[in-house]
C-alpha cells in the first residue's frame, strides 16, 4: 500500500486492488487439464470470495435498475450503489452490489462476468474489502460449517451406498475377471464395481483409437458429466453452487454406525490407492472400461440438463433465468434468435418422426 495515509471511512475513494484485475488467461496447459473455459492460473480461497460484488463496464446510459434486476435473479440483494469514485472506463459505470448470501454473489458472478449488457461487457469481481469484521467472521464460519456438514453427508452417503451394495446380490460383472488383481481401486470399492456408468459417456470419447495417457479420457468424461457445477479448468469450484442437498433427503438411520464403517471403507480403499500413487493402472483396464461405456452412448446434453436439475437446483435459491444461450451481444439480435428458435421448435415438433432435428435444435440452444 503505497497510498497516502487514509482513515477508514466510507467516504474515501475506493482503491484498486490486484484482485479486481482480470488475469491473463493461461494457454500453456496440456490437454488433459485444459478445461472448456479459458481461465487464468489462480487459486481461489474463501478470503477472495465475498457477498460484495463490484460490477464494472456497465454502459453509462441509465441502466442501473436493469442491472440490479438482472443481479437479483441470482438472489436477494441487500444493498447497491454506484461507485462513482472508482476509476471507470469512458462511458461506463461501476456498481457495488451486496447480496444477502455468498452463494447468490457467486452465482451472479459466474453468470454475469464477461457477459454483454446493453452493449457493454461486464466485468464482475468479488470485493471483500467492503466487508466488515463481522461479515468476514460470518463468511468464515459459514464456510467451515458447510465443509464439515458436507463431509459428514458424504460419509453418510457412502455408508448408505455400501449397505445398498450388500443387500443387492452382485450383478453380473461385465469386466473381465483376469484383471482382478490390477484393477485395485475399482474392485475394492464396492459400489464402483458395477458402475457401467450410465452417465459416463462424454462426447469427448469420440476418439477411442488415440493413444491417450491412461487417465486422460476420464477427466473429460467427468468434466462433461458433472456438467456446469463441476470444476473448471483450474479445478476451481469458486463459482460452483454449494450443494448440500444430496443427503438431506436420504434416511439417516445408519448414522450410528457410519463412523466405524466409513473407516473400514477408507482402509480397504486407501491401501491400494496409496500403493498406486506412483504406478498407473494398466491401460488395458481403462480401455476395457471405455469400451464398455461406449456401448451405451447417450446424449451428453441430456445428461447435462439432468445433472443441473437433479443435483444442483435445490440450493440455488431463485431459479436461474435460463440456460446459457447463444449470445449475439445485442438485444435485438437475441430476440430474433429467440424467435427463430421458437419457430424451429414448432416446426420440428409437428412431425413426430424427426428426432434428429429436435436434437439439433437443442444442441444449438446450449452452445
Amino acid at each position: 500500500m503505497a497510498a497516502p495515509v487514509q482513515k477508514a471511512d466510507c467516504w474515501r475513494t475506493p482503491e484498486i486492488y490486484k484482485h479486481h484485475e482480470q488475469r491473463k488467461v493461461c494457454i500453456s496447459r496440456p490437454k488433459y487439464r485444459d478445461g472448456r473455459k479459458a481461465k487464468a492460473v489462480k487459486v481461489y480461497t474463501i478470503n477472495l470470495e465475498s457477498r460484495y460484488l463490484m460490477v464494472q463496464g456497465v454502459p453509462a446510459i441509465g441502466v442501473m435498475s436493469e442491472l440490479i434486476q438482472r443481479c437479483a435473479l441470482y438472489g436477494a440483494i441487500e444493498e447497491y450503489r454506484p461507485l462513482d469514485e472508482y476509476p471507470a472506463e469512458e462511458f461506463t459505470e461501476v456498481y457495488l452490489v451486496k447480496f444477502q448470501k455468498l452463494t447468490s454473489a457467486r452465482a451472479a458472478k459466474r453468470h454475469l462476468d464477461e457477459k454483454s449488457f446493453y452493449g457493454g461487457v461486464l466485468h464482475v469481481c468479488y470485493v471483500p474489502e467492503y466487508e466488515t469484521v463481522e461479515d468476514t467472521r460470518l463468511k468464515l464460519q459459514d464456510r467451515r460449517r458447510y465443509v464439515i456438514r458436507t463431509c459428514q453427508n458424504i460419509a453418510r452417503e457412502r455408508e448408505q451406498m455400501r449397505e445398498a451394495t450388500e443387500e443387492d446380490p452382485k450383478p453380473p460383472d461385465s469386466a473381465p475377471k483376469s484383471e482382478g488383481a490390477t484393477k485395485s481401486t475399482d474392485e475394492k470399492h464396492p459400489a464402483s464395481v458395477y458402475a457401467p456408468a450410465p452417465s459416463s459417456t462424454g462426447h469427448y470419447l469420440g476418439f477411442p483409437s488415440l493413444p491417450l495417457p491412461p487417465q486422460e479420457d476420464r477427466w473429460y468424461r467427468q468434466n462433461t458429466n458433472q456438467a456446469r457445477p463441476s470444476e473448471d479448468r483450474m479445478g476451481s469450484l469458486h463459482d460452483t453452487f454449494t450443494d448440500t442437498a444430496p443427503c438431506d433427503t436420504a434416511p439417516c438411520d445408519t448414522q450410528s454406525t457410519s463412523a466405524g464403517v466409513q473407516r473400514k471403507d477408507r482402509d480397504t480403499r486407501g491401501t491400494p490407492n496409496l500403493a498406486s500413487v506412483v504406478r498407473f493402472v494398466p491401460r488395458t483396464t481403462h480401455l476395457e472400461n471405455r469400451k464398455r461405456k461406449l456401448e451405451e452412448p447417450r446424449d451428453p446434453l441430456l445428461l447435462l440438463s439432468y445433472d443441473i436439475v437433479g443435483e444442483n437446483s435445490p440450493l440455488i435459491g431463485p431459479q436461474l433465468p435460463e440456460p446459457p444461450k447463444l449470445d449475439m451481444e445485442d438485444e435485438s439480435l437475441n430476440t430474433t434468435v429467440h424467435q427463430i428458435r421458437d419457430t424451429l421448435k414448432q416446426v420440428a415438433s409437428v412431425p413426430a418422426n424427426k428426432p434428429a432435428k429436435v436434437k439439433k435444435t437443442k444442441l444449438r440452444r446450449r452452445i
Partner: protein, 195 residues
Amino acid sequence: MSRKRSSDRSDRFDYLQTLVTEFQDTDNDEAKEQVLANLANFSYDPKNMEDLRQLQVTDLFLDMLTEDNENFVEFGMGGLCNLSMDRECRDLILESGGIPLVTACLSSRREEIVLSAITTLMNLTTAASRPQVTEVAVVQCMLRFSLSESPRLRNLAGVFLQDCCTEPQVARAEQTMPDGPQTVLGIPLPVDSVP
C-alpha cells in the same frame, strides 16, 4: 444416482492422482504452478478432501511453503487454507508440524499469502494447538495487521484477535510489543494494491 456418483468419484481420484504424479515428475516450473493451482482449487470442494488426504496433498502443500518461488508459496498456502476447513485435514496438517511453517508465511510480502495464512491458522486452532497458534509473536503480528491499510488484512486479523485469542493474551502482547517494527514476524507489511 449413487452408482453414477461412485464412478465419478473414482474418476476424480484417478485424475487427482495424475495431477500429483505430474507435479512430482515435471521439472517445468510453469507446469508445476498450474498443477499446484489445480490441486489448491480442488481443495476448495469438500467432495475432494478425502481423496486429497489419501494422496497426501496436505504434505505437498506444506512443502511449498518453504519454496523460493512466491507463486508456489501462494498456491500452497491457498490450498492449505482450503483444506484446513476440514477437520481431518486440519489434524493432518497439525501432525505434520504445519503451524511454524504457516506462521512463517505471515511475513510474506504478498497479501494473498498472508491472508491465507491467517485463515489457515484460525482453522488450525484446537484446544491442543491454541498455545502454539497464539504465541506472543503471532498475536503481536496480528495486532500490527489490525492497523493495516488493507481492509481485508485488517478485518481478518481482527477476527483472529477476537476469536482465537483471549483478552489477557492480547493485552500481554500489546504490553510487550516493542516500539517500532523490529519484531520477528510480519515485516514488512504486505503490499497488494496497485497504485
